[in-house]
């Protein structure tokens, strides 16, 4: 049988495009080596409330691992995910036409540099491209938000054991928000146990499977300690966080005092006949970065204090 290969030739980018690609390749590498500040802070907090020897042993291993990953500059988890970018872009951002090529090539280069695991399997032909890029990988979700020349993007290493197997469903309005609660809670005691708790739980509410699913993913981009601006959604976040913690999944699902780093809800409007609900679970090793560029490619990294590329 002939071995199939994936055709990829590095694109010819403008000098500015090359610069953005190189910055992004460096940043993706950083994201694989070190957790964002909000996640690190929360894990330290949670490690202090677990008192049993098994739970302590697991948290100690986690802390030691992150220290070693930073020191040795290696990916802290072997599943460096399928790369996903969630982007808000101004209509006048100068590299808009090159953006898809820049992102794909940045992943291609970071894969060699970090190094990242080869996580792109071409469907139906069923072969691993060996480059960590493929048709639709990296995945790019973009909104044009205003007339500015700036761009902000989340870089997410979406792992196969946590966030990629998300779920979404459309409920009948009669099921109400009680149906949303049931949907989220049932996933915690089935899938959540294996998704590397303590989890960041992203809940999306919208009008269809895909809007709810995307909202649940965007919810994982929010900081661990953030609160929804909607009063009722914030109340649900709080109730779910307490409720899931009381289930007591503990680190790695071995039982313990806490189950989650946080619960984030993102909601959009719904058709009167439908309540879409989606759940995405971020693992404890939530490798989500954020980088903001202006039109001259000056950038800042709000989730990684002290990091320079």
């Amino acid at each position: 049988m002939d071995t199939m290969t994936y055709d990829y030739t590095e694109p010819v980018l403008s000098p500015k495009g090359q610069k953005m690609r190189d910055i992004l390749a460096d940043y993706i590498t950083v994201v694989s080596h070190r957790l964002p500040d909000d996640v690190t802070k929360k894990l330290v907090e949670l490690s202090k409330i677990e008192v049993d020897p098994l739970q302590r042993l697991i948290y100690d291993t986690m802390m030691e691992n992150q220290m070693l990953a930073g020191k040795l500059k290696r990916p802290s988890c072997q599943d460096t995910g399928a790369l996903q970018f969630f982007i808000k872009c101004g209509a006048k951002f100068p590299l808009l036409s090159e953006l898809n090529a820049i992102l794909k090539d940045a992943v291609y280069r970071a894969t060699k540099q970090a190094p990242l695991r080869h996580n792109a399997v071409q469907t139906f032909d069923e072969f691993n491209t060996g480059m960590n890029i493929g048709d639709g990988i990296p995945s790019v979700f973009m909104q044009i938000v205003d007339d500015s020349a700036d761009i902000e993007m989340y870089v997410y290493m979406a792992g196969g054991g946590c966030t990629l197997p998300g779920e979404a469903k459309v409920l009948m309005p009669g099921e109400g928000y009680e149906g949303v609660v049931r949907f989220v809670m049932d996933r915690m005691t089935s899938y959540g146990i294996n998704a590397c708790p303590p989890l960041l739980v992203g809940v999306g509410v919208g009008t269809s499977a895909e809007t709810a699913a995307l909202n649940s993913k965007l919810a994982l981009m929010r900081r661990v300690d953030s609160v929804s601006p909607n009063k009722n959604a914030a109340k649900l976040e709080h109730l779910l966080e307490d409720g899931i913690n009381h289930i007591g999944l503990g680190p790695q699902g071995f039982g313990g005092k806490a189950s989650v780093m946080g619960v984030n809800v993102i909601n959009t409007a719904r058709h009167p006949s439908a309540i879409g609900v989606g759940v995405s679970t971020g693992c404890w090793s939530h490798r989500r970065g954020k980088i903001n560029f202006d039109s001259d490619l000056n950038y800042d990294l709000p989730l990684n204090e002290g990091v320079e590329l």
């Binding site: 072997q78 190094p115 080869h118």
Partner: protein
């Protein structure tokens, strides 16, 4: 919670007193083995090209560096979700006589039956700690089925004090995650009742 140190080859006698919740550290031979390798053995009836009898497998897809001299180096390794292999594991244990199945999260009735009947353990390495784990791999001694790509190749490793490995299924067929799940589900129902009373936003 007892702590055990095991060295391959492992005899039935070595693991008969190890119970769920105990901690194991492994020395010797451990081979990464996951989705497609299980399928090839069980469904395609292709013999495993690495002998894992009385040794350990790890449900994992590592990051490997290929050196210029043809050797390989472990950069990062950690377990993947074991439950994906549940469909195949009972037959896998029967065919291979593997003694330790290491992964992430629990496994189901097939693996329980195999652990009891053929004397094996399922253990969990705390996932996400891939650098810590890689530093306990002394050497990659063999690589087979490389056509499957980096994550799914069978990487045969020589490991030292590899752990902590938490026993999730023991040779009695007891299952830590299944026991925990009963408790988790009970608590969940109580929590749902509490929350439901406060989310009647549709009026």
């Amino acid at each position: 919670m007892k702590t055990w140190h095991l060295t391959t080859p492992i005899a039935d006698e070595d693991i008969k007193d190890i119970r769920i919740g105990d901690i194991v550290y492994l020395n010797g031979s451990m081979t990464t083995c996951r989705d497609v390798a299980h399928r090839r053995l069980v469904e395609e009836h292709r013999p495993l090209p690495i002998d894992v009898s009385r040794k350990a497998i790890l449900h994992a897809g590592p990051i490997i560096k290929a050196n210029d001299d043809g050797t390989y180096e472990m950069v990062a390794v950690g377990p993947t979700t074991s439950m994906r292999m549940e469909k195949f594991e009972e037959d896998f244990v029967k065919e291979t006589n593997v003694k330790l199945i290491i992964g992430k999260g629990g496994m189901g009735p097939g693996t329980q039956a195999a652990c009891k009947k053929y004397k094996a353990l399922h253990l969990v390495y705390p996932a996400g700690n891939a650098v810590y784990a890689a530093l306990h791999v002394e050497k990659i001694v063999d690589a087979q089925w490389k056509d499957l790509g980096m994550p799914e190749t069978l990487w045969s490793c020589q490991v030292k004090d590899f752990g902590p490995l938490i026993v999730s299924i023991d040779t009695n067929g007891d299952n830590l995650f299944e026991k925990n799940k009963i408790e988790f589900n009970k608590r969940k129902e109580a929590e749902i009742k509490k929350i439901d009373a406060q989310v009647k936003f549709i009026k």
